[in-house]
Structures are given as C-alpha cells and as structure tokens.
C-alpha cells in the first residue's frame, strides 16, 4: 500500500466519522463544526486526486462561505447553546430505514457500474484550462450554464436583500 493510499483511507475515515458525528450530535453548533471538518476532509481527497483548484474552491466556498453562513444563522437563532431534544423512536426508525435504503441504492449502482482502468491522462484541471472552458462558447464550453448560474445567484442576492429590508422596516 502506498503512502497516498494510506492517507486516502485516513482522510476518508475522518470524512465519514465527522459526517456521522454531525448527524448524531444534539448540539447544533457542534453539528456545524463537524460538518466543517467533514468538508475539509473532502477537500483533502481532492488534493489527493491532484485537483488543487477544486480543493481550494471547496475550502473557499463550502468551508469559508457556507459554513460561516450556517454558523451565523445558528447564532441568530439564540438557541445555539441548548441541546436539541431527543428525537422520537419512530422517527429514528424511519430515518434509519431511509438511510439504509439510500446506502443500498448507492452501493448497488456502484457495484453494477464497470469502472474501466485506464492510463490515459484525465481532463486538464489546471486553473488556466478551467477558466478557458468556463468562458468557452464553442464545443464543451460552459459559458451558458456559468451565466445562468450567476444570474440565479444575483436573483438570490436581491431576494435576500428584499427580505432583510422588509423585516427591518416592520
């Protein structure tokens, strides 16, 4: 087993453990922090795959952005310090069943797919190429979805401002 494989297993285990902890903890702030570590682990896996740019994006957007937003919204609820009530047994059963179903489905798909081993170089994942493809409007270009997504984000931002301003004026 090479060093990178060992590192991969360690990081994956961390991702899974923190993911599980973020689900099972009953303190909402801790859940957010565990989720944070889980997401950092995913960034680590990207690095192992030599996807530096994606890893940095993962850290910047998910960890530095989304988690900070989640933590801020937890702060604003004023209940961040309380323990959440224990869930009902019925709910635990249903949730466990659903999770098991999801797991089985994923594993089923996973084992039925034939992964082809290849020595071919994958996609060019350098920042330069990503930028080029993002702004390319010929073949395999992403300028169209990129613009649509930015438009959607702009709409979401404007919506947020409208909602926030209305509450302030109430």
């Amino acid at each position: 087993m090479s060093a990178s494989t060992i590192i991969f297993y360690i990081v994956s285990a961390l991702v899974l453990v923190f993911g599980a902890m973020s689900v099972f903890t009953r303190m909402i702030f801790r859940a957010a922090i565990y989720l944070l570590f889980s997401l950092i682990g995913i960034a680590g896996i990207y690095i192992l795959m030599n996807m530096d740019f994606i890893a940095a994006l993962q850290v910047l957007i998910y960890v530095g952005g989304i988690i900070v937003l989640i933590i801020f919204s937890i702060f604003l609820t004023h209940q961040s310090g309380d323990k959440l009530p224990k869930p009902l047994f019925k709910r635990i059963v249903v949730a466990a069943g659903m999770s098991a179903f999801g797991l089985i489905l994923t594993l089923g798909v996973f084992y039925r797919t034939a992964f082809k081993a290849t020595t071919e170089m994958g996609v060019d994942h350098s920042a330069r190429n990503i930028g080029r493809q993002m702004l390319d409007y010929h073949h395999h270009g992403y300028v169209y979805p990129f613009e649509i997504v930015s438009f959607l984000l702009l709409a979401a931002l404007v919506g947020c401002i409208v909602i926030a301003v209305k509450i302030k004026n109430k």
Partner: protein, 361 residues
C-alpha cells in the same frame, strides 16, 4: 503527489542521506516532519522578534523606551512573556462548550500555519510550489474565521460572542476586496503560482511595472489585510474599550498565546504575500534597461530582499496600529462595501484592459 520539498543544496543532501538510510516512505515522512518543524521554528522566532520590535516601535512612537528590564535593551522581554504564558494555567469557563473551547485555538493556529506552505522565501526555498498558490492562501486563510467564531461562541460570554460576530462579518467582507486586489497581479502575471508570480517580476516589481492599477491594488490589499488580521484601526473584534478583549476574553495561558501566535503568523503571511505579489518576493530591485544597477542589486541575497520587504510591510501595519483610532462597525462595513469593493472591481476591469494591451513599464 507533487508535494516536492525543493530546498537548496543542504536540503538535497539531507534528502539523499535520508533516502539512503531509510525506506523512501519513512524518509518522506521524516522530511515532512522536518519541514513542519522548520516552519514552526521560523514563525515562532519571527513572532518573538516581531513582538519585541513592535513594542520597541510603539515605545518610539509614544516617546518612551519600551521594554528595558529583561536582558540588554529588554531584548529578552518577548522570551520572558512566552515563558510566562507557557507556565500559566489554561482556565476553561464553567458553562462553556469545553470541547469547542479547547479546539478553537488549535483551529486558528493550524490554519495560519497552513497558509505558510506555498510561500517562497528565496529562490527555491519553498515548501510546496502549488500551481494555485495565491488562490490556496486566500482559500485557507478564510478558514481562520471559523476558529474565531468557535472561540467566541464556546466561551459562553456575551462580549466574546459579539466580538466573534464582528470578526466574522469583517473577515468575510474584506476577503472580497483582498481577493480582487490579488487578481490584478494574477492577471498581469498570467499565473496563480507563487513562484510564477515572482518569476514574472524578474525585470521589475509589479508595483512599479504595473503602475496605477497595481498601486491601487497594493493599497487595497494592505487595507484589507489589516482588516482581516483584526488589527487597528480595524480591531473591532477585540476592541478592548468596547468588548474588553473580544473573542478571546476568556482565554488564558497557552490557549491565549496560540491566538496571539496565530495573529502574528497571519500578519507574517499576509505581509509575505504582499511582498511576493506586489514587491517581487525575493527578486532584487531591478529596473529594465539599467544593467549596472541590476547587477549590483543581484549581490544582495534573495532571502534578505524577501524579509526586508516583509518587514517593511509589517512596519506599515505596526505604524497603523499605533496611530489610528478605531472605526465603528458600520463604518468598517461601509468602507468595504461602498468604497473598497467598487474601487476594486473597477480596478480589476482597468487592470484587465492594461494587461490585454500590455501597457507595462
């Protein structure tokens, strides 16, 4: 894995010796540990030096002597402070979230050390020449806010919480302009990697070569990095006259020292980034066409250039701290969203135009 530790001859010698003596994997592990220790030692030494320098500078600016008692000219003062902090008890408030409270200083410190990785200290002395160096630093440094939020929340202290909220709002906002300021140089150099950016300044630093847009970006970057560091005049997160000590009110002993150390580390990293990106990193002062001058400048080693520039920017930051009063939170956010961000965006467009036309000096 492109985690290639490419230090100079000494490091190559160590590398070959380790590889001959141990199994390659073990040697690799030892190298990682050595590199980590080297960086930590460097940062701690710099922090001690900087604490002393800052106190002496503050003393000079305030017509007093600064530390004078410990050692000659008070030179051992910072060491004595470190000893004191190491020996103090780390108190944990009763009703705090103890796990988060203890983890927070580590998060902050680890994040600040991680940002040191892609810095090029001199020609070839770089831990990891990642091809997205500048982006990596921006991404990782955005993590430090999490540690601050953890610290503020878990202390179960209202001042801490207010400080953490302030810090969060501040760092998240100021990251935007800081990033845009870096983008200007990235566009002109055509690369995100630190070594690439330094190489692009072989015939002149960007702040000279890139004239107006880079100067605007440089000023913006200094302002935003001061803000991201929570240092005066943007030290609202730990405004001692308003929030006693902000997010680290409840911390003591080594836990506090870790916040302190990470603040200084972040200060070094941002100064180093500014020195690298705008002032040419370890590149000597070169002007296109003046071969005599360029040749003379080459005699000064790159590491001296690099640390000289870093300390110049550090001096600027220290100077700000001992001169300016503090802003108010709404003024702080107004400065970012109403002035710096629009200016930065227009500056990026302007710089893109200049980069396309190739109007460098």
């Amino acid at each position: 894995m492109q985690l290639s530790i490419s230090l100079l001859e000494i490091t190559r010698a160590i590398d070959s010796w380790l590889n001959s003596a141990f199994h390659p994997h073990v040697a690799y592990g030892i190298e990682l540990v050595l590199a980590g220790v080297a960086v930590i030692l460097l940062v701690v030494a710099m922090a001690i030096l900087m604490v002393y320098a800052e106190r002496k500078l503050a003393g000079f600016m305030q017509m007093r002597l600064g530390p004078m008692r410990v050692g000659k000219w008070g030179s051992m003062q910072a060491v004595a402070d470190v000893m004191k902090l190491l020996l103090k008890e780390c108190l944990v408030p009763t009703n705090s979230d103890k796990l988060m409270f203890r983890v927070a200083p580590f998060v902050v410190t680890i994040v600040s050390f991680m940002t040191l990785v892609p810095i090029a200290f001199a020609k070839g002395i770089q831990l990891w020449d990642i091809n997205i160096g500048v982006f990596y630093i921006t991404a990782v440094s955005s993590l430090s806010v999490i540690g601050i939020l953890m610290a503020g929340w878990s202390s179960n202290n209202k001042y801490s919480l207010l400080g953490a909220m302030r810090s969060g709002a501040q760092i998240v906002s100021y990251e935007l302009s800081g990033g845009l300021a870096l983008i200007v140089v990235v566009m002109m150099s055509g690369t995100l990697s630190i070594s690439g950016i330094v190489q692009a300044q072989a015939d002149g630093w960007w702040v000279i070569k890139g004239h107006i847009p880079v100067i605007i970006a440089f000023v913006t970057f200094i302002i935003t990095s001061t803000a991201e560091l929570n240092r005066a005049p943007f030290d609202l997160a730990e405004a001692e006259s308003e929030l006693t000590a902000g997010y680290h009110t409840e911390y003591s002993g080594m836990q506090f020292a870790m916040f302190f150390l990470s603040e200084y580390t972040n200060m070094f990293v941002l100064s180093m980034v500014a020195a690298t990106v705008f002032l040419g990193g370890w590149m000597p002062f070169h002007l296109a066409g003046l071969d005599g001058l360029n040749h003379f400048m080459d005699y000064i080693p790159g590491i001296v250039w690099f640390f000289g520039k870093t300390f110049f920017i550090l001096f600027l930051i220290v100077w700000f701290r001992w001169t300016f009063p503090r802003l108010r939170i709404d003024q702080l956010l107004k400065l970012e969203w109403k002035y710096l961000l629009p200016v930065s965006i227009i500056n990026v467009l302007f710089a893109a135009f200049i980069a396309l036309m190739g109007w460098y000096l």
